[in-house]
Amino acid sequence: MNLPETRPSADPATPRNAPATAGAPAPKPAGKAAKHRLEEWRGQAFVYLCVLLLVVIIFSIVVFIASRGLTPFVSQGVSVKEMLFGLEWAPEADHPMFGALPFLFGSFSTSLLAAIIAAPLGICAALFMTEMMPKLGKTILQPAIELLAGIPSVVYGFVGLSVIVPFLRHTFPGQGVGIMAGAIVLSVMILPTITTIATDALRSLPAGLKEGSYALGATRWQTIARIILPTTLPALLTGVVLGIARAFGEALAVQMVIGNAPHIPHSLFESATTLTSIITLSMGNTTTGSLHNNALWSLALILLLMTFLFVFIVRMLERRSKHA
């Protein structure tokens, strides 16, 4: 055993090392040190370069969307108030109007409703997989739910249009398309996000907490309700918020089932629309630089700001779960 690289044993009593490395560590050849420094430097430079590129890309996207999206307010005479609270969207009219409230309403109501449907399902699925039947959960339920994440949104939209919309039309008054149809489709789409994050949170719960609760005579249900769920709540909410963010940004599937009427509906089963739907539907019919086109960028800016908000909420929740 003669490895010049190994450091001398910290334990002076180790007999094998004692005679060989009794003095200072053998000096390394100078060339080797330089080589190591170079390797180190190359690796660092590569990582820094990637990060720099990433930052530049993100920054340019934000600047681009903001510059386009702010133009209607800055130089084309549209007021922020009109955009946020106006009810009429008529960008090509003689007297154009840019009220985006119906879209905001549509986006918020579909994603929140989707979260209300998906959160209990996802969290129960996660409880089932971690607390009740881990084997069955791991072999059947988890792959099934992960599969949901891989289905393209056009397929969701198609299924929604051919199954959910007719079902809603026959069951409730209205045309079937609308907020409810959108929310149901979205809820299935965000189920994997919520379930996966909830499962991770529940799995990482210290085993001692559960044992502690059982040892006090708690039943499984009491343990779940009073220890497991409260302790993991911030993480569970993180999953729900990320689900809402995903639903908020989803365009295609919602657009296929929501009806796309630019007004605030009177019921959940009436045609409505969302920010993303209106952008995808109108995009092709506008020319770059026109007021209409820039107004769509304003909607994109709103989507971006909402995403920031969601990320911010998630960060806050993560901080809470660390300090809990």
């Binding site: 001692g208 502690g212 609760s213 006090l216 708690a218 039943t219 302790t231 809990a324």
Partner: protein, 256 residues
């Protein structure tokens, strides 16, 4: 095995525990005298924790664990599948090596078990919390910050809080699995003092790696080896005049 005091709170009979095919505890018969401290010692992996967990059916939680034999507590064989484990675990408190306070306030940690068992009245809960904290010598240290998170306490305080939490559901038996081995010497001494105090009211079974601790806190000591109960006797006898050679070897540090 010598004769055992008469007022036995509980005892095991041919108790075996299996993990799948592997037998971790082999046909152990032991009596735990009322209001005495019994120490379980032995090299790690010899089945002390497994044996301890089978006394309040915590092995139920481990997939693949299986119990054979009997554990009798107050004329009831708790290994019987019809046993109500909720009631059983109310009678038997348990404390682990790593303190595991709930992510709640000090007050809520203690009130927790009582709430499980249906006590809702605020005054009654206050009284239970104070009493449990006094019994574990924590009251003076925490009485001004009952509503602060239990996670802000030191490791030793957390461990005493966990003991208080068990005591609050009024058990008659306390099981402790190396309760001080993750603590500093001062906290360890406090836990040992506490054990001496608690044994006036509770029958205590404690697993420990620390031979000196076993000698200090226990009335009787059981030496486990490879799933067998090698020797079980008065602590003084075990430490001064063990009848089995392997016990002597272990105690004098020749292995394990």
């Amino acid at each position: 095995m010598s004769t055992v005091a008469t007022r036995a709170a509980f005892y095991t009979k041919d108790l075996s525990v299996y993990y799948g095919e592997k037998q971790a505890v082999k046909k152990i018969g032991m009596e735990f005298p009322d209001r005495e401290v019994v120490a379980l010692i032995g090299p790690s992996g010899c089945g002390k924790s497994t044996f301890l967990r089978s006394l309040n059916r915590m092995n139920d939680l481990i997939p693949g664990a299986r119990i054979e034999g009997e554990v009798w507590i107050n004329d009831q064989n708790i290994c019987d599948p019809r046993t109500d484990v909720v009631q059983l675990r109310q009678q038997i408190g348990m404390v682990w090596q790593r303190p595991n306070p709930f992510h709640k306030s000090i007050y809520e940690n203690i009130a927790f078990g009582a709430r499980y068992h249906g006590i809702k009245d605020k005054k009654a809960l206050d009284a239970i919390v104070e009493q449990a904290l006094r019994k574990t010598a924590l009251w003076d240290e925490v009485k001004d910050r009952l509503n602060q998170s239990a996670l802000a306490l030191s490791g030793g305080q957390q461990q005493r809080l966990c003991i208080a939490r068990s005591v609050a559901v009024r058990p008659s038996i306390l099981l402790m699995d190396e309760p001080a081995s993750a603590l500093d010497p001062v906290s360890t001494a406090k836990i040992e003092e506490l054990i001496a105090e608690l044994k006036k009211e509770y029958t205590i079974v404690i697993v420990t790696h620390n031979m000196h601790q076993a000698a200090r806190v226990s009335d009787r000591t059981a030496f486990f080896f490879l799933g067998d109960l090698v020797e079980y006797d008065d602590t003084r006898t075990i430490f001064t005049n063990p009848s089995r050679k392997s016990t002597d070897d272990y105690i004098s540090g020749r292995f394990g």
